[in-house]
Amino acid sequence: MLLIMGFRKGEGMPQPPSSAAPSAEEFMQYQQQLGQAGVHVDSAVLHSFEDATQVQVSDAGERLVTNGPFAESREFLGGYQIIDVPDLDAALDWAARCPGAKYGRVEVRPLAEF
């Protein structure tokens, strides 16, 4: 799975490699390339992290719902791609081609098999 991470703006936050704004066309093109190569399994783009809602449940079963992103986090998940490739090197190649690698970072994680 490729987790496409963005950096939150503000004092002391990590800086993306590119200062330009990400363009939707780039992501669309990337999506097409994944499809053409036959490696695409699933993907999603998430709405702004500012629209997030947090849920936690206490030991007593009490539900705590709060508005907005987790205050402590410096990054947000912008979307993901699940791809089917033979090994880590192939996954890293696709991660490097993802526009998210320019505007933030892409985390590559193997899916656990059950």
Binding site: L88, D89, A112
Partner: protein
Amino acid sequence: MGPAGEPIEAVFREERGRLPALLAARFGDLDLAEEVTAEALLAAVETWPRSGVPREPLAWLATTARRKALDRIRRDATLATKLATLHADADPARRAEPVPEHEHIPDDRLQLMFACCHPALDLDTQTGLTLRYIAGLSTAEIAQAFLVPPATMAQRLTRGKRKIQQSRIPFRVPGPDELEGRLGLVLHVVYLIFTEGYAATGHHDLVRCDLVDEAIRLARILHRLMPGEPRVTGLLALMLLTDARRQARVDGHGAAVSLEDQDRRLWDTSMIDEGARLTTQALRHHPPNSWSVQAAIAALHDEAPSAQDTDWRQMRLLYDELFAMTPTPVVALNRAITISWHEGPQAGLDHLEALADEPGLARQHHWHAARGHTLARLGRHTAAAKAYRRASELAQTPAEIAYLSSRAEEYTTSG
């Protein structure tokens, strides 16, 4: 059949790293490779004294280990999905075949080395895995060599193996696009093992010194598998030319001896010859790489009759070239020392002083020791004593501390 009762270790020592590599490349599972290697060796201990050592011990062991691996995978239902990838070997008919005596055994250590030194692993893990699986050291030996508790090293290796398996780091030599960078990581690990052991010479700590031999052995394996790769040739040459001075580096009291004061008759001429030959070979490729240039620098030292009679003009050119390739503080420091020989101590001191603000250098004894040496040559003994004193406070090994303290003492009394 070979002579019966011949110790299996002796038959197998040279090839010890090949079996796990072969199995890991085949099954993509270092744990399994390790376990079935141990089982195959055990089977050999039990069988060979009775039947004699097979003509092709490695082929025998490889086939035995492979069968044991297949048996395990079959038994283990959770690994059932792997069966699909086992191709022809999964065919039960093949298992009945006799052990082939002249089977070609591929050397997969290169593939394994690239997996162990994958950038997805941290440097400590890369080093540990390389020593464990390519050099064949035990976890306890590696822990001792790197001065960490065995449990820490075991955990590091386990995590590394798990990462290789779960994130599917491939056992493969990278393609031409990537080879440049990835080979750099492998060479870095090998040289790190070397310097770790080299720095410990005089520690009276034999295990750590063994790291020097292990690093050279690893470079020899790499050189055999990539004979046309000038960076590998250069690295092997550099290590041989450096280690050739081993006997002269420490005096009878365990104090370090500077290159200038070493008894050059103690240098190993056969290592120097081999290193110089490899350097020439590596430098035939253009453009030169930093390993080859460092080897050329070491060769120039090794072939000089004394420090005074060294070709310092040539040395200066080599350091200029090296500094252009890798402008690190350490290279700058060695270049300044070369300038002190080539142009004179004042020019050398000027270059050294220019490096005073270099982060990292001022906290290392090398820079202070070089200052002390240059100041002493200028007759500024009080300043030299002070620099040597500071260097001795920063030095790490007893051999270096002994040497630097005695220099500080010498110039204190003569100043």
